[in-house]
Symmetry: C2
Subunit: 160 residues, 2 copies
């Protein structure tokens, strides 16, 4: 891991993805925090992201809807826990609104954007409450899914 990475990694409960993106941190952060940008990359194509409502501040809620190629919609609600412009973004599905517990607290996502000579060392550390949930997430295709959307994110960020 890069030395800038802030958290301890729990091998039993966490999943992690890291990538060097050929764009400045500001662009990658914008792609995660501006709804019209997020809609362009968030779902793995040919899925789409028709709705992105995002109150990007600690304690702000979000609603992101993904749509399958068949037209089925999957709403995801969460709350931002930490926002450090161009550096860090943390959110969780443990709340559907501030501070309404969700049906099932599944994950907390800790994103870090670190400058490496004008490029971005992008790291997504995904914490789960249980080892079983980590396994479920891995088996749902975490690495393939987040890998593909990170490709889409990188392409968009480098075009801004």
């Amino acid at each position: 891991m890069t030395t800038s990475f802030p958290s301890t990694i729990d091998a039993e409960r966490d999943l992690i993805l890291t990538r060097l993106i050929d764009a400045p941190c500001e662009n990658v952060f914008r792609a995660w925090t501006e709804p019209e940008l997020l809609k362009q990359w968030f779902a793995p194509l040919p899925w789409t992201t028709p709705v992105a409502e995002m109150d990007v501040r600690p304690g702000g809620a979000n609603l992101i809807v993904m749509r399958s190629p068949e037209g089925e919609e999957y709403p995801n609600r969460g709350v931002y826990l930490e926002v450090v412009k161009n550096r860090r973004l943390v959110f969780t599905d443990a709340y559907t609104a501030p501070w309404t517990p969700s049906e099932k607290p599944f994950m907390t996502v800790e994103l870090t954007f670190a400058d490496e000579g004008g490029k971005t060392r992008y790291t997504a550390l995904v914490h789960h409450w249980t080892a079983a949930d980590r396994t479920t997430h891995a088996e749902m295709g975490f690495h393939e899914g987040w890998g593909q959307t990170t490709d889409q994110l990188a392409k968009l960020a480098s075009s801004l």
Copy 2:
């Protein structure tokens, strides 16, 4: 409820305590956020609170240790989610540190301090992730325990 109360109450999963405290909001907020004050009222006597380490900001951790009359210590770790000086304080045991999931996310506590003619309308809204956890908490003596410590809090706050 007072009109200043910000959250919807979920009758299935929440517990609530409200009290008019004869002290200004500033004093009640201080009693919740200054370690040397918190230690004086937090545990229901004859229990005590020998340790209170509190990083009172959104994403800050706390460690509060309660000690039984027999000398057994019970550490409680959590993270603050929202801090609005003299108005609101929100914390949860869903994390033991930012952003390490706890073994069991049990509750999120939303405290509101509202001025009523120089006194404080104090409300503790305790959200649980499940109805079963609400029942457990009620059967553990939520109303008696929080009632007694709120007496202790009120006494301290009015003496400041």
